[in-house]
């Protein structure tokens, strides 16, 4: 395989950098490639082109990306659309798994405490008045909820809360907050809280999840 391969697709051009080749050699070949492209371009009509840079099983660090960008920036007609690769850092991968897992949590969250969870949470503990249960994803709760439940922290308005929030002080999703008065929400374990099209918190029942969040519903195995 060559160090640098240019391929054309229906939706654009992709330059693949050989993951086994020396990076300096790649940079030299890349410069040549762009020089040739520029020559060809000059013959035809001038129209700007954007490339995807695919690095295969190699991960470029910020410095290496800069070097590639430097080469491309010499040619005003060309630009880099994005860098892609088929591998990722273990740390990033773990974070991704964390964000996609439904975490089982049975803690007691007391007054003044904040329980931060990455991803979804199935909460079966006690949330006391003044405590905050905060998840970056959805909150499914069987627990005693007398504190504040925050789903989709900080900005995922697609997140929902399902459970009994009859005695809850506040529900928050992303940046929207609702202060719950006493007896505002009925004493039901099937209350669903979501952010509606007007970006306001709305309440519905479990059976409506399919309609309001079809993606989530399929992810949960519904159809």
């Amino acid at each position: 395989m060559q160090n640098v391969v240019l391929k054309g697709y229906k939706d654009g051009y992709e330059i693949t950098l050989n993951a086994d080749a020396d990076f300096k050699a790649i940079l030299i070949d890349l410069s040549k490639l762009f020089a040739e492209l520029q020559l060809e371009k000059e013959k035809s009509e001038a129209k700007s082109l954007s490339f995807d840079i695919s690095t295969g099983t190699r991960l470029l660090d910020a410095e290496q990306k800069q070097e590639v960008e430097k080469i491309v920036s010499q040619y005003p007609l060309f630009s880099i659309h994005r860098f892609t690769s088929s591998v990722m850092q273990i740390q990033d991968a773990l974070e991704m798994i964390e964000n996609r897992t439904v975490h089982l949590n049975a803690n007691t969250i007391r007054n003044g405490q904040v329980e931060n969870i990455k991803g979804d949470v199935l909460f079966v503990g006690d949330l006391h008045q003044g405590g905050i249960l905060r998840a970056s994803g959805n909150v499914f709760t069987f627990g005693k909820n007398e504190g504040i439940i925050h789903a989709g922290f900080p900005n995922d308005a697609e997140a929902i809360i399902i459970g009994n929030i009859h005695a809850t002080q506040q529900v928050r999703i992303a940046d929207v907050v609702d202060i719950l008065e006493e007896n505002q929400i009925e004493d039901s374990a099937e209350t669903v809280v979501f952010v509606n099209d007007l970006h306001v918190l709305a309440y519905t029942e479990r059976a409506k999840v399919k309609m309001i969040r079809p993606k989530l519903f399929t992810r949960m195995g519904g159809y």
């Binding site: 007691t108 007054n111 003044g112 006690d126 006391h128």
Partner: protein, 268 residues
């Protein structure tokens, strides 16, 4: 080796110091050697309630700063020969003069010589609280049936659980007014215990005599017949491992004759 127990509440004025004094006295009456440690630096009270205020020569800050030896600063309560001792707090110093490690060193030095070291914690959750918890093996949280006190107790229990003490914190519900609790005007004992979800160590009824006796420098627990005193004695017995049933909340028998007669008419 003794056990160090911190007595705390978060909220002020719920009876931490009164509880410390009475529990210490009750344990001393049960033939245990007890040292009370007042950590409310700047606002010491424990010595006053025990009636030992005029015998203070050195205090805990003197010990920490090397002006006195620990045994010099300990004040013996003569009523309980060699059973009850007090290490008083300093009056004209700030809470920040003590560091958690220094308090821990003092507690560790006391533990081999005593059965119980009771640490009276100041109100709040700042430096004074951190100091008081540093040396403790166990904790007693004092609350009253008021919502604000229960909330603060909840907060403090959360902080105590993070401290990883040897034992989970225990609860004392203080200042119970039976008629209010029976009328449902305040949270009842079960409700508070369930809400805080920790072990209930005991309950103490509100009683005017608690104040009047502490004004005289005699802990109420010395008065056997008093209801509050019985509460404290029961708590001490439970700490020593006995199984003692909770005291009855029925206030009926406490009413006077006239009140009882008038209550017959109310029912009709």
């Amino acid at each position: 080796m003794g056990k160090a127990i911190v007595i705390t509440s978060g909220k002020g004025g719920v009876g931490k110091t009164t509880t410390s004094a009475n529990l210490g006295t009750a344990l001393a009456l049960a033939d245990k050697k007890v040292c009370l440690l007042d950590l409310d630096i700047g606002l010491r009270n424990l010595d006053v309630i025990l009636g030992l205020d005029n015998r203070i020569i050195y205090d805990i800050v003197d010990v920490v700063q090397g002006r006195a030896k620990l045994h010099q600063a300990l004040i013996k309560d003569k009523r309980f020969d060699e059973k009850l001792f007090l290490l008083p707090a300093a009056q004209n110093a700030d809470k920040s003069v003590l560091k958690p490690e220094e308090v821990k060193d003092i507690v560790d030095e006391l533990k081999p010589d005593f059965d119980y070291v009771l640490i009276d914690c100041p109100a709040g959750i700042e430096q004074g609280f951190i100091n008081a918890v540093a040396g403790a093996d166990a904790a007693i949280v004092v609350s009253t049936p008021e919502i604000s006190a229960v909330r603060d107790a909840d907060r403090v229990i959360g902080l105590l659980e993070k401290e990883s003490l040897d034992e989970p914190p225990m609860l004392i519900i203080n200042r119970i007014r039976t008629h209010m609790m029976n009328d449902g005007q305040v949270m009842d004992v079960d409700e508070i215990t369930r809400h805080l979800s920790i072990k209930l160590l005991g309950i103490v009824f509100d009683d005017d005599q608690v104040i009047s006796t502490s004004n005289k420098g005699e802990p109420i627990v010395l008065n056997e017949k008093n209801l509050a005193a019985q509460g404290y004695r029961n708590i001490a017995r439970r700490l020593l491992g006995e199984t003692v049933p909770l005291m009855n909340l029925d206030s009926e028998e406490k009413k006077g004759l006239i009140q009882r007669i008038s209550s017959w008419f109310k029912k009709n």
